[in-house]
Symmetry: C2
Subunit: 377 residues, 2 copies
């Protein structure tokens, strides 16, 4: 009987239309029926990524396509720049180092955003750099990096720009081609409003040229296998059929609303979430807050308890901090299938929980502040 | 309105109880609720694999865990023996060679089975071999290898035995520990009666010792990350939550019937399928037919048309041949959620299609032959 309200930065709730598709009898993946679905999905993914290039679907978590973006572009001993600002930015460095790639850091401290000028400087000082790896929205802290500015810088060099858009795609304006992003990777359980299990990657011509020189070992992650199968609307290995069938439905929903409209929807939710946090007396966390998750600082004495109590007493799931931020921040997601009413549910229950945990909270105030922003539209 | 009948060697049909679980609202994966499910699934997997060792769940196709079994055990320049006898056996060699591992072949020609004596000979001639990679049921041809005999041989050496049980697990007697298998890998879309997207791997103590020496690069496929997370009923990367929730249900169904009973059920289906093929005047293919898929030779003139016509006219999906066997064999699966009645549907429609394609087939004869075997029980 416990009713769950998911306000977490992935997985996000799944629309019933999409969930029901997962329950349909399974199709065989080497048939015309499946090929037609796969083709439609592939075209839809181009729209979502805002690219004219092919987007490949991989069975795996988002990290799988991050690793694909490393092992297909580089060779051992190559130099890359990693410009991260949190847990997921750090992951780029860890993956690359696992393969003997030399990582030059242009990263910012957690909570801050990546400074494009730092990347520019690192590129000048290290002319052999093959690629710059960065993060669009850094979910662990709740900030967004200026990918457009970074694209302008990197595109003037021989290096390719690789961006982790796992949590930000759909939820905040992102334009792969226009922003000169060479490789973008994403996953199914955030903006796509789907269950986890699919990951996506797209490559520019410049990235494909670099891929031609890559010598890092790979088999399942060999992007050329995916490219080859894509030509016949197939995948090289058995695809998660039910997830792809439901992805077709979620892309249909995204197209129906229009991606620009969705960007505005989440922007409004972000404004309301920030207003709600401030009304609770909590200080926002992060230099440039993104529009898919809102982070706020909480008193360390109760930091660990907020998330647990919200979930156990009211079925509301939000996220706490990761790494050094554990117990210091809370993260309130407004991505995927999370709407205005969900946000208000979250703040109402948060008011109750903070009160129970001894904070001096004026009940109704955060909800009111969020409502005010939502009504402003 | 088109009704589909899946008699393919993966994906197989999904029981409605399992499919409906996929449509449930998604759970967050870092919660007590999910941890309890994951723990139950992990225990169930031990039962299915017939092992006391931990079984890890990975987001990916079956090939992902094959690659995990390569990159976690070996270092570049290592020698291994690959004993394959078809498309999936060959895959072991391709993965290993992608990583600079030296492959010594003890493989048999397609259609034949692996000869344990050949492995014994290769092990004696190559005392530095780190591991032997082989296949349980080779779906591309429809044969089964004598893993018990191979286990007896390999266990007397320093090499570890790695077995691909992707298509055979659940469908035919397989005992990881008792047969001295060090590493077994499998996938969700065959005997588990689930959608594709999950892969499984289990390692013996001997395999873990070898893993300690492995220097091949890995990150997403680093099995130590999975082991570490397993201790707290978690996965290192966001797991395909809905697939794991439905896996719990399919394991419940497997336990309810009992795995020994299931082995007998599929054995009976295999007998009926062989009788049906013979009654159609088709010669069986494969030296030692397995119990999860039945292969039969078909006249090359109509070979390509049988599969297509069956699917397009009657909605019945079976598989044709792969590689050199394309157009030369048909493959009729009886794994996963395929029952007695499904088999009869398959043969009845096959009788019609072969008649339409000009073969002199006595209508009803294959169905009768299959019925006779099914009644014999």
């Amino acid at each position: 009987m416990k009713k769950h309200y998911l306000l977490t930065p992935g997985p996000t709730p799944i629309p019933p239309e999409v969930a029901l598709k997962e329950a349909l009898p399974i199709l065989h993946h080497r048939t015309g029926e499946f090929a037609a679905i796969y083709k439609d999905v592939a075209e839809g993914l181009k729209y979502v990524f805002q690219t004219k290039n092919e987007v490949y679907t991989v069975a795996g978590s988002g990290t799988a396509t991050m690793e694909i973006a490393v092992v297909n572009l580089l060779s051992a001993g190559d130099e890359i720049i990693v410009a991260g600002c949190g847990n997921f930015g750090d992951r780029w460095a860890k993956i690359a180092q696992s393969y003997g790639v030399k990582v030059i850091s242009a990263s910012a401290p957690w909570g801050n955003v990546v400074k494009p000028a730092e990347i520019e400087k690192a590129l000048k000082e290290n002319p052999n750099v093959k690629a710059v790896y960065t993060t669009f929205t850094e979910t662990s802290t709740g900030v967004v990096n200026d990918i457009k500015a970074i694209g302008d810088i990197v595109s003037k060099t021989n290096a390719v720009l690789v961006v982790d858009t796992i949590s930000g795609l759909v939820g905040q304006e992102f334009r792969t081609d226009e922003w000169k992003v060479d490789v973008a990777v994403s996953g199914s359980q955030k903006g796509f409003m789907l269950a986890p299990g699919l990951a996506f990657i797209t490559l520019s011509e410049k990235a494909w040229k670099l891929a031609e020189t890559s010598k890092l070992p790979k088999f399942y992650f060999d992007i050329k296998k995916y490219k080859k199968s894509y030509a016949t609307n197939e995948t090289p290995f058995t695809p998660p059929v039910t997830l792809i069938v439901s992805l077709q439905e979620s892309i249909r929903l995204i197209k129906e609303r229009g991606i620009e409209n969705l960007w505005n929807d989440y922007k409004l939710l972000a404004k309301a979430a920030r207003a709600g946090m401030k009304a609770l007396g909590l200080e926002l966390y992060g230099e440039v807050p993104c529009e898919v998750v809102t982070s706020a600082q909480v008193p360390e004495a109760i930091g660990g308890k907020i998330v647990k109590t919200l979930r156990e007493k009211y079925g509301v799931s939000i996220a706490g901090g990761q790494g050094d931020l554990k117990g210091k921040i809370i993260r309130f997601a407004h991505m995927g299938y999370i709407g205005k009413a969900d946000l208000l549910v979250g703040f109402a229950c948060l008011e109750m929980v903070l009160t129970e945990l001894g904070l001096n909270v004026e009940k109704g105030k955060a909800v009111a502040a969020a409502e005010t922003e939502l009504l402003r539209g």
